[in-house]
Symmetry: D2
Subunit: 177 residues, 4 copies
Amino acid sequence: MKTQVIVLNGGSSSGKSGIVRCLQAILPDPWLAFGVDTLVQAMPASMQSSDAGIEFASNGEVIVGPEFRALEAAWIEGIAAMGRAGARVIVDEVFLGGADSQLRWQKALGDLSVLWVGVKCDSAIAASREVARGDRISGMAASQANVVHQGMVYDLEVDTSHAESMECARTIAAHLT
Amino acid sequence: MKTQVIVLNGGSSSGKSGIVRCLQAILPDPWLAFGVDTLVQAMPASMQSSDAGIEFASNGEVIVGPEFRALEAAWIEGIAAMGRAGARVIVDEVFLGGADSQLRWQKALGDLSVLWVGVKCDSAIAASREVARGDRISGMAASQANVVHQGMVYDLEVDTSHAESMECARTIAAHLT
Amino acid sequence: MKTQVIVLNGGSSSGKSGIVRCLQAILPDPWLAFGVDTLVQAMPASMQSSDAGIEFASNGEVIVGPEFRALEAAWIEGIAAMGRAGARVIVDEVFLGGADSQLRWQKALGDLSVLWVGVKCDSAIAASREVARGDRISGMAASQANVVHQGMVYDLEVDTSHAESMECARTIAAHLT
Amino acid sequence: MKTQVIVLNGGSSSGKSGIVRCLQAILPDPWLAFGVDTLVQAMPASMQSSDAGIEFASNGEVIVGPEFRALEAAWIEGIAAMGRAGARVIVDEVFLGGADSQLRWQKALGDLSVLWVGVKCDSAIAASREVARGDRISGMAASQANVVHQGMVYDLEVDTSHAESMECARTIAAHLT
C-alpha cells in the first residue's frame, strides 16, 4: 500500500517547511504541501486576534478558540478528501494538542496510508533559529519544542538540531512505501 | 438553502483578492478563503516552470499541463469536502478554461449551494493596476481580462473598474441566501 | 535644474506605493524608490515593539521613539547623499510629524531639486482599502489620513480617491523639470 | 576607534541574513541592516530583467549591467553617508566582482571603521539549503559559493556549514572594537 499522506509534526522553527520543500524536490511524484499556516491565512483577519479564533500571546504561546477548531475540522476533512481523490499530500503541522490533535487527523484520514513523522529540534537551537529567521513573535520555538510531541506516536523521527533539511528529507523518503 | 460556497472568477489584477478580504471582514460568519494561488504554492517548485506543471510565458499567458490538472482535480474535491463538512468557503479563481473550468467545479461542488460571481475589470485599467502592484510578469492582466469569462454563467457580476473592493463585497453579500 | 528627488507624503493605504511603481515604470530614467518601510525593515526586530523604537498601537496609531529618530536622521542623510551622487530617488513617506518632518528632510536635501507631492485620499475610502489589502493593524489609514498633511507645503497634490495610481503618476511626471 | 560598519560578504544561501538578524538581536546598540536585496527592490521592475539592469540566468548566474552599476555607486555613497551621520550599519552583500567590489566599497567608506567578514559555506550544503528555502532560481548558491571570495581581504571569516547563525554572530560580535 503506497504512502498517500506524510504528516510532519514539530514546533515552530523546528525546520519542518525546509524539509517539506526538500521532500517535494527529491520525491519522483508531485506532492502537494499544506500546513497550519495555509489554514490560518485562509481565515478572516479578525480571527487572527480574537478569543474565538487564534491568539498569539506575547510570550509566544498560541491559543486557539472554538471557531478555529470548527474551521480546522472542515479543513482536515478537505485534506483527507484530496488524498482520496488521488493527490499525494504532505501536511506540515504544529500539534499544540499533542495526542488529541493526532487523533483528530487519524479519524479524518481513515484508511489512507499515512507516514507520521516527528520533527524534533533542541529547544535552544530552535530558539536561536527563530531569531535568525526574524520572526516578530519570539518565544514560540521554545514554547512549542516539547509540548507538540507529548503522547504522539510516530513511524519515524528526525532531529534537525545537527542535520540539514535535505538529510532529514532523504531519511523520510527512504521510509515511504 | 444557505449559501455555502462563493466562487469569484476574474482575470489577474481584476481585484478579486481585495473583494475576498472585504467579504471576510463584513460577513457575520467566518468564511475560509482559498485561491488558485493557494494551490500553486502547494505544488513542488519544479512544477512552476515545467511543461507538466504551470508555465508563465513572457507575454503573461499562463499554460498549465497534465500534472497540474490532476492535482487541481484533487484540490477541487478537497474544497468541496470542506464545504460538506460545514465550512463556508470563498474560492478566488482564474478560469483560464472558461466554461470548462466552471463545469469541473460544478461537478465537484454537487449539491452545495454556490454563488457564482464574475469579477470584471476594464482591460486597460487592470493592466495599469498590474503595474501599480509591481507584479514581475506583466501582461497577465490584459491577457486574462476577457478570456476567463467566456461561456461562464454567473449569479452576479461586479465590475471593479470604477467601484471599490468594499462596494463590490457589499453587493455580493446582499445576494447571499 | 532637473528634478533629483520626488517626495511623496501620504497616510497609510493612501496609495503611495502604487504611484511609486507606476512612476518607475513610466519615467524614462531609472529612479530608486525608498520608503519609511525600507527604514523600518532595516531596524532590529526589537525596535519594532519598544518605547525607544516604533510602536503600533492597537487603534492603528504609530508612535516613534528617540532611537528611531536618531537612525532616521542618518537614513535621511544617506538618501540625500545618493541624490548628490547622481541617483534619482523617489521617497515614499508618512510624515507623522507633519511640517516638522518636512523640515528635517528639507535640511538634509539642501540644494537638491525636490518635487514635494501630497498624496491625499478620502479617509473612509482609505480605510476600506486597508481592509481590502488585509493589513493586520486596522485603523492606521483613518488615523493618518489627515494628520500627515498638517502644515505641509507641496508643489503638487494628487487625490487617489477617484483616480488610478497610473493617472496620479502621469500627473506627477508632467511636473518634473 | 569603534566599528561603524560591518560588511558581510558571501554567496546566495550562505546564511548571511540569518547572521545579520542575530547580530541585530545581540548587539547592545541598534544597527541598521541593508543588503543588495534592498537595492534591487528599490530599482524599477524593468531593470530586474534587462541588459542594462540585472539578469538572473536560468543556471543561477547573475549578470548586472551599466545602469545597475551607476545606481549601485550612488547607493554605496548613501550607506557611507549614513555611517558618517552616526548610524551603525551592517551591509549584507554578494561581491560578484570579488576584490573589485570590495575596492568600490572601500573607497566610499573611506575613514569609517569597517569590519570585513567573509561568510563561507560548503557549496553542496549551500545548494541543499537553497532547495530548502524554496528559492525559485536554483543554481545561485553553487554558482556564487566560491567566486564571491576571490581576492577578498577579510578581518574575519565564519563558516556556516556546521555552525548556527547565532554562533557566527557571536564570533563576529566578539571582534567589534
